[in-house]
Point group: C2
Chain length 555, copies 2
Amino acid sequence: MSGSLRILPLGGLGEIGKNMMVVEYDGRIVIVDTGLMFPTAEMLGIDLVLPDFDYLRGRVGDIEAIVLTHGHEDHVGALPYVIREIGAPPAIYGGRLTIGMVRSKLEEHKLRDMPLRDLEPGMPVEAGKFGIELVHMSHSIPDACAVALTTPLGTILVTGDYKFDQTPVDGRPADFARLARLGDEGLLCLCGDSTNADRPGVAMSEASVGPALLETFSRCDGRIIVTCFASNVHRVQQVVDAAEVLGRKVALVGRSMRKNFNIASNLGIASAPEGLLIQPREIEDYPDEEVIAISTGSQGEPLSALRRMAHGEHRDVELHSGDTVVFSATPVPGNERSVNETVDRIFEIGARVITAADAPIHASGHGYQEDMKLMLNLTRPRYVMPVHGDFKRIRLHALLAESVGVEPERIFRTRNGVPLEIGADGARLGEDVGAGMIFVDGLELGEPDDAALRDRKTLSADGLVIVVATVSLEDLEVAADPEITFRGVPMQSGEDSDRLIDELADVVEDKLEDVLQGHAREPALIRQEIHDAVATFVYKRLKRRPMVLPVVIEV
Amino acid sequence: MSGSLRILPLGGLGEIGKNMMVVEYDGRIVIVDTGLMFPTAEMLGIDLVLPDFDYLRGRVGDIEAIVLTHGHEDHVGALPYVIREIGAPPAIYGGRLTIGMVRSKLEEHKLRDMPLRDLEPGMPVEAGKFGIELVHMSHSIPDACAVALTTPLGTILVTGDYKFDQTPVDGRPADFARLARLGDEGLLCLCGDSTNADRPGVAMSEASVGPALLETFSRCDGRIIVTCFASNVHRVQQVVDAAEVLGRKVALVGRSMRKNFNIASNLGIASAPEGLLIQPREIEDYPDEEVIAISTGSQGEPLSALRRMAHGEHRDVELHSGDTVVFSATPVPGNERSVNETVDRIFEIGARVITAADAPIHASGHGYQEDMKLMLNLTRPRYVMPVHGDFKRIRLHALLAESVGVEPERIFRTRNGVPLEIGADGARLGEDVGAGMIFVDGLELGEPDDAALRDRKTLSADGLVIVVATVSLEDLEVAADPEITFRGVPMQSGEDSDRLIDELADVVEDKLEDVLQGHAREPALIRQEIHDAVATFVYKRLKRRPMVLPVVIEV
C-alpha cells in the first residue's frame, strides 16, 4: 500500500484520453491504447494526428506492456508510430480480433515479430507490479474490452469504448459479474467513456438493427447498396444474414470491408453460407433485385468505394435509378458535409437513399447516460476520471457520477497531458506534462506549429511570389533582369498581369541598385530588402499577402 | 398570349436557384435576388462564392429590374458584383428593410446613387412588359417577400425564403389572401423554397421562441450571453423584451448586430425602451445578474464576437463560470465543427451552454412540408419548379407537389443553369447555359478551376521546391551552384535535411550538365528537365509531390 500512481490521458483533437492512457506505478508503465485521429480540413496536407507521447521518450525500458481495448483506429492506429519512436514493449495485449487486426496493420508498416499476445477476457496476466485483465464489453466492433489494471495501491478500470448491450449479436453481453466483483473488491479508479454523456436513456442494442435492415431491404425492388463501418463486423454479419433471408447475393466492396470480414471469418466471428458472397466485379452479372453490396464510405471519405460510386467513378458499381443506398451509420462530427455531399450526388443520379433518420438502421457503439450510471453503480469506484470526450461531455459525465452519489471531490475532470495522481493519502490532479498533438506529415512526425504546415497555410491562403535577383557582389551591380514568378496569387490574365510583373521588376531593380549602392554584400540583407519591397508593392496592388521568396544569385 | 418565357435558376454550392433567378420574356429580363455563398474549407483562400451570372454579360440593356426578396446575404450579397460586372439596372426593388440593408452594403462597396426603390407589398409596378409585385411573407428576417412577376404569358411566383407563421412577432402574417387570389387568377408557375422539404409538419412560429427564451433566462442567476443571427431582428427584439421583463440591461455585441438593430430601429421595426441598451464596454460595470449580451457568432464564425469570447480574446466580455451562453440558432450545414468547437471552449471556461436541443429557443425561417403543401394549394400553379435546395430536397418538394395533385409532367426538377422554358404550347427544360460558380479571390473574380486556386491546393497539400539554376548559354555550362529552397515540405531538420539538399543539388547539376552537353539552349526545355529530375528525386526520398518550380538564370 505504498508508492504512487499516475494516470495520464493523451489524445488528439480535443477528446480527453481518447487515444492513449499512460498508467504509471512507481516509475513502471502500462499503456492502454495507442490510437490516432484523422486531420481536420484546416490541417493542410497532414495525414494523421497522433497523441503527443513525448512523455514516453527514452523510457522504453520502463514500459511493462501495451494493452489494446479494441481494434478501432482511434485506439490502435498510432501503435506503429509508438513502436518506431519509443520502442517495442515486452508485450502487446488485446482480444483475438484486436490482435488479428493489429498484426495486419503492423505488417503493412513492415514491423514484424512484435510481441503480440491474445489475452482471454477474465484471465489476468502479470506485468511487473501490474496485474492486467481484460473485461469483456459491447461496442461497435467485436472483442471490445475494458482493462482492469491492478497495482499495489488498488485497481484501475479503463473502460475503453463500450455500451451495455443486453442482447448482443454474438450472445455475449458485457461481463456484468466481473464488473460487479471489481466493485466488491473496492475499485480505486474508474476511467470511463463519456462519448454519449449528452444522450439520455440507454443505447440501442445492435441486435435491433438487423430486423430493421431486413424490413428496409424487403421493401426494395432494385439493387441495394449498404454502407457501414468496415470494422462493425456484427453489422456486416446482420446484412449478410438479411441477404440470405431475401435470397440476394452479397458483394463486399472496398478494401477494408473485405479485409476485416476475412480476419473476422478466420477467427470464427463472422461467416457467410457457401456461395452467398460474390466478387464486386460480378455485381453487374446478377439481376438488380438479387444483389446487396456492402460498401465502405459511410463517412463520405474521399477515396472510399461509395464516394466513387456517387461520383460515377467506381470500377465495378455504376449507380442508377432503382438502386437504394442504405446508410447504416451516422456521420461522425465533422463529416456532415462530405456525407451530405455524397447523399446528394446519389439523389442526383436518381437512386434512393435511406438513412438512420428514416429507419432505426443504426445503433451507436457508446453507452448513453443510463449505461454510464450503471457502470458507476456496478463498479462503485473511489475515484472517477471521465475520459473520451470533449470538455462538455467530460462535465456531463461528472454530473452523472454526482447523480449516483459520487462526491464531487472524488471526481476529477482533467485534460490531455494532466495526470491524475493517486497516493495512499488521496488523489489530485498533477502538473501538466505538456501534451499537444503530433502531426504525421508524409514520412515525418511534427508539431502542429511545425514550420512546414505553417508555410502551407500561408501558401494555401495567398499563394507565393518568387523573385530571383542576379547580382555581382564584386562589382556591386545587378547582373541580370530579375525573374519573377507568381503561383496561387489571384491575378488578371494577359496584359494587366504582364504590366504588374513589369512594374514589380522595376521595383526590385530599383531596390537592388539602392542596396548595392549602399555597398551591401550580405545576401541575407539583400533578400530582406527585396522581400519587404515586393510584399509592400503586391499588397498595395492586389490586397493579398502571398509568401515572398527572394533568391539572390551571385555571379 | 404569345412570346416565350425562360426561368433560369442560378446558385453556388449545389443549392438550385438559391442565390439568383433570371426571368426572361421575349429577351427582356427581371432578376429575382442576387445572393452569394460562403466558401467551404476546401476552397483555399477564396473569399466568397457567387452564382455564375455570365448569362447576363453584355445584356445590361435587356434588364428591366432586379427584385430582392429579403436582406439575407445569400439573396442580396452578390449585388455589388453584379452591378460591377454587368452594370446597374434601371431599378432595384425590395421591401423597406431589405433596401435599407442593401443601401448600406452598396455604400461599403462605394456604389452610390444606385436606383434603389422601396416597394410596398401588394402595390405592383410595371417594368417593361413585366408587372412586379411583392407579396408579404414570413421568414427569419423582417420584410421577406415573394415576388409575383406578371408577363403576357401569365404570372410566375418566386416565393423567396418563407414559412407560414400564423402568429408572427410583428402581427403581420403572410398575405394568404393575395396568394389565394393569384391562384384564382390562374398562376402559371410556382418557384418554391424547398429548404425544409425533408421535415414533416409545420414550421414553429417565431412567437413561440420569446416565451421559451424568457423561461430559459429566468432560470439563470449570472450573466447571459445570447447568440443568434444579427439579421433576425424579431429574435433580437424578443431577447430585448425578455430582458426588460427581467430587469436586465442589454448590450449588442458585434458590428453586424449593432448595425442591423440600428437600421431596423430607424425603420420602426425594432425598438428598445429608453435606457435599456448599454455599450459592450459597459457590461463589466454591471452586476452579472443584471446584463444580457446579444452577440454575433452563432455559427462559430472565426472573427465573430462569441468566438473571440470563447477564446478569451474579446475586448469587452470575459466569459467565466456562472455565465450562461444561449444559442438561439442551429448550425447551418457545414458549420457543425466550428460551432461544436466554440461550445466546447465555453465548457472549458466553465460557463453553461444552452442550445436548441435543450429548450425550444430557435425556430427555422423556412416552411416544413405542410407549409409547402399549403403554398401549393393556395396558389394552384399550372407548373411547379422547386428551387432552394439540393437534389434531395428538390426531389422531396416534387413529391409533395404530386401528393397535393399536381401531375408529374407539370413538375420540373432542374439544376443551376438549366432554364424552364414556357411557351403557349407548354413547358420544358431548356439547354444548359453552363452555369458554375464564380469565386471571389481577393480583388479578382475567377472560375473554380482557376489556376491560382489549383496552385494553392497543390501548395497546401505538399508545399514547394524552388530550384534556381544559373547557366551560361554561350559556353553551355553551369555558371553557379544551384540554389534550392523548400517551403511547406515536411523534412527532418538539421543534418538529414542538409544532406538531402546537397544530394538534390548534385541531381540538378548532373541533369544540367547532361542537358547542356546535348547543346540545349531552350530555357523551357532546361526547366522541364530539371523539374522532372527534382520531382522524381523528391518523391523517392520524401514520398511527397510538392510543386517544383525551376528557375533558369542565364548569364
